[in-house]
């Protein structure tokens, strides 16, 4: 009689152990799936936030007084080619200022490319306007490129061209 009770008790304990084992396995699987899902969501959110940040930044940079056209203090909706060249010179010759801008904006590169009318593909300088690129902050590595169309004004010739303001943001 006592022996039978002992066997039954052992059996009950065994069943309880099995139930607990299955429960914990299910719990662990659920937790793993949940955390993986959360991790993926966080990664996607990060990329979305960066995407939003850089897309907004590329549009707001067109209003930066360092490069925006102005006539006697009145701003116009274009980028000044002479200011672009001057700004690039400042950034090239003053590493600390460049670092400050990079920290401020959190970007890897910044450039303006002339796309219409078609001009000679070369870096712009003070000597000629027959050029298509103003590399303000050069970057040759990988990165996501965000661009917006801009109007570029050449004060010496009083003409406008169409360009793209491009910023290079960090990859995922």
């Amino acid at each position: 009689m006592r022996r039978n009770l002992l066997k039954k008790g052992q059996l009950e304990i065994g069943i309880t152990m099995m139930v607990l084992l299955v429960f914990f396995i299910l719990l662990i699987v659920a937790l793993v799936v949940y955390f993986q899902f959360t991790y993926t969501t966080i990664k996607e959110s990060r990329q979305e936030i960066l995407d939003e940040k850089f897309s907004t930044l590329v549009n707001s940079l067109t209003s930066a007084p360092e490069i925006k056209c102005s006539v006697r203090g009145i701003e116009r909706e274009c980028l000044d080619a002479k200011k672009l060249i001057a700004f690039r010179e400042v950034l090239t010759n003053n590493g600390n200022i460049k670092d400050k801008y990079l920290d401020e904006f959190g970007i890897l590169g910044l450039e303006v490319e002339v796309v219409y009318p078609t001009v000679t593909p070369r870096e712009c300088d003070v000597t000629s306007i027959d050029c298509n690129k103003f590399t303000l902050m050069g970057y040759t590595g990988d990165g996501l490129r965000y661009a917006t169309p801009v109007s570029i004004y050449y004060p010496s010739d009083n003409i406008y061209r169409i360009g793209k303001l491009i910023i290079i943001g960090e990859v995922e």
Binding site: F23, T41, S55, T56, T118, P149, D157, I162
Partner: protein, 155 residues
């Protein structure tokens, strides 16, 4: 397995399912495209502004805006070859080519545009590269003498 234990497992399964359903619901509900709209609006306005300002590399660097106004003033010409009929004027052909080149150079391949130029509500310039019913419209440019230019971007 006892009946009670089987029911507990069923309950756990249902609870887990409910949690996942809730997560998916919250995730779908949170998607918001207002910032995308705002960004496209910036792009459309920037592009419209650039088109209105640009000087061409021919015709003594005249502005595209002036060329488009000329096109709206003289949209057609008489076909010199028989049968005599009205065809698109040379200025309008040049305008359309320039605009197409600009859109090709500034927009990505997946972006759809629709550009209209009209005079006294009659549209003479109409360019598009696909169906663009719902999109972001740049602020229309209205010039004296009822010239009107509109740009819409879709993606």
């Amino acid at each position: 397995m006892k009946k009670g234990q089987a029911e507990i497992f069923g309950l756990i399964f249902i609870v887990i399912l409910l949690i996942f359903a809730l997560i998916f619901f919250v995730r779908i509900k949170q998607s918001d495209d207002s910032s995308v709209t705002l960004r496209s609006s910036f792009r459309a306005n920037n592009l419209m502004n650039a088109i209105m300002d640009v000087n061409l590399d021919y015709l003594d660097k005249t502005s595209l805006k002036e060329l488009m106004k000329d096109c709206l003033d003289n949209p057609t010409k008489l076909n010199p070859n028989p049968p005599p009929q009205k065809i698109k004027s040379d200025i309008c052909v040049a305008v359309e080519k320039d605009l197409t080149d600009i859109f090709k150079a500034t927009l990505s391949e997946i972006e759809i545009y629709q550009f209209k130029g009209s005079l006294d509500t009659i549209t003479y310039i109409e360019l598009f590269n696909g169906v663009c019913d719902e999109g972001i419209t740049a602020s229309p440019v209205r010039l004296p003498r009822n010239y009107n230019f509109e740009l819409k971007l879709c993606s």
